[in-house]
Every structure is written in C-alpha cells, then in structure tokens.
C-alpha cells in the first residue's frame, strides 16, 4: 500500500534562474496526480522556497558551483519532494528559531527580509523534514486527499530535524 509507484529525479545547477524550472515540474507532476489548484500552488511555492534556500545558503561559501537534486516520490496517497544540496550544512535548530511569521508588536527596524521561507514551507505542506549532515535534504510531503489524511499530520510539531 505504501510503496512508491514512481520516482522522478532531476539535477539542476544551484542558480536562481532554474528555480522556475522546478516550479513548472512540480506543477506538471502534481497536476497529473490530481491535486487541486490551491494544493499545487502551495507545493510550487514550498519547493521553490527549499530550492531558493539551497541556492542562497548552501553554496555561499564554496567556490564550486553546486547542484541541486530534486526527487519526486509518487505514492498512492501523496507526493513527496526531496530537495538536496551538497553545500554547507547549517544549524537547523538555530535557523528554525529565527524563522517565523512577522510579529506586529516587534519594532519595524528588526523585521528581517529573509527567514520567511521555512515558515511558509511548514504552513503550506502537510509534512516538512530536514536532514543535515553532508549537505542538506529538505523533504516536503503533501497528501492528495486531505479528508482522508490521519489527524496526526496536522499536529503542531510537523517538522522533524534529524542531524
């Protein structure tokens, strides 16, 4: 029942101009699987956020122009998208502490222009897993029929960090 039906893999240069290509691919695959429009848009955005992070952070300090690997695992009931880079890994717990919605009562000068990406991923996907180590792997899951999903996927602690 829980076996992957198909796997689609792509490797792209870790450059901002290719993030749009990944978005188009997400859209094509999710559309084929019968996701609703809003879910497709959510996934496009979440996957793009993960790719943008890989482009921005993972290769900042390395001279080598890196690659991003995107793997789509198609299940009966869900789509899992893994975004993998080989760049510098980071302190996941520290980053998560800094990421979150903008708070109205905070001073405007302290508002950060970045850091909303991870928060958006968590809000838009059913499940977000981040694995550190050699590079970073972000795994994003969306179920095809939300009505049939176990209630536990909507628990407040959706993100698991495994380092």
């Amino acid at each position: 029942m829980d076996q992957t039906k198909e796997i689609i893999e792509m490797t792209l240069p870790a450059k901002a101009q290719y993030v749009g290509v990944v978005r188009l691919t997400v859209s094509g695959i999710a559309n084929r699987l019968g996701f609703h429009y809003d879910d497709i848009e959510d996934m496009k955005l979440a996957v793009a956020e993960a790719c943008t992070n890989a482009v921005d952070h993972a290769y900042k300090k390395s001279v080598v122009k890196g690659k991003i690997g995107v793997t789509f695992f198609i299940f009966e009931d869900r789509l899992e998208v893994q975004i993998k880079d080989e760049g510098n890994s980071f302190d996941i717990a520290a980053v998560k502490k800094r990421c979150g919605p903008i708070e109205k009562h905070h001073p405007f000068a302290a508002m950060r222009e970045r850091g909303l990406g991870l928060h958006l991923m968590e809000a838009l996907m059913d499940r977000v897993d981040i694995y550190g180590g050699q590079g970073v792997v972000v795994s994003l899951t969306k179920y095809i029929h939300r009505d049939e999903v176990d209630s536990n996927v909507n628990s407040p602690t959706k993100t698991q960090s495994n380092r």
């Binding site: 901002a16 101009q17 993030v19 749009g20 290509v21 978005r23 188009l24 809003d38 848009e41 496009k44 955005l45 793009a48 956020e49 943008t52 482009v55 921005d56 919605p101 903008i102 708070e103 109205k104 405007f108 000068a109 508002m111 950060r112 222009e113 970045r114 909303l116 990406g117 928060h119 958006l120 809000a123 838009l124």
Partner: protein, 105 residues
C-alpha cells in the same frame, strides 16, 4: 518566468509600480532595483500586484525592505490588486497585519 515593472507617476510624491509576472529569487532583484529608489521621504508608493501570477518569500522580502525604508522616512507603501493567493501568503507570514493593502487598484 519573468517580471515586468512599469512606473506610473501619480503626483510629485506619489508613484505607482505595476508589477506583472513572477516574482521569485531570480526576478526579485529587478523589483528591488525599481522599488527602492522610490522609497524617499514622505513618498507614497503604490504597488499594483494584480498581474502577479506568483510571488514567494524573496518577493515578500523586497516588500519588507521597501516598507521599512518608507516607514523610517514618513512614507507609505500601499499594495493594491492583491490576489486571494497572495493574500493567503501575507496572512501566513503575518505581513497582512503590517502592510497597507487597498482593495481597489
């Protein structure tokens, strides 16, 4: 996967930028380049987003940067033509509580 930005002059201290297309990591720098110079003292900048098909956190970051710059100089940033999709992102990120959003374009 492109963005076009058109500037309209409303008055001495009021400008409108009409943004069309997709605002992502690749195109957000173009938006920043057009928007930031308009963020001057006492200026009102309208950002017409009705033609925006896609915007992610890099685009939202540009909005935050412009908002902060205007705010510190008694200026205003006003978003118009916000789609339900974009409104949702502004709600999730908490930006809808802070940014000025006008329904009419």
């Amino acid at each position: 996967m492109n963005v076009t930005i058109e500037e309209q002059i409303r008055s001495d201290q009021e400008r409108t930028l009409v943004v069309s297309g997709e605002v992502d990591a690749f195109t957000a720098p173009q938006l920043r380049e057009k928007l930031m110079p308009l963020c001057q003292e006492n200026c009102k900048v309208y950002l017409n987003l009705s033609q925006v098909d896609y915007m992610d956190s890099t685009g939202l970051g540009v909005l935050i940067g412009a908002f902060k710059k205007l705010r510190s100089q008694r200026g205003r940033l006003i978003l118009t033509g916000v789609s339900p999709r974009l409104k949702r992102l502004l709600n999730i990120t908490g930006l809808s509580e802070i940014l000025e959003i006008e329904d009419r374009v």
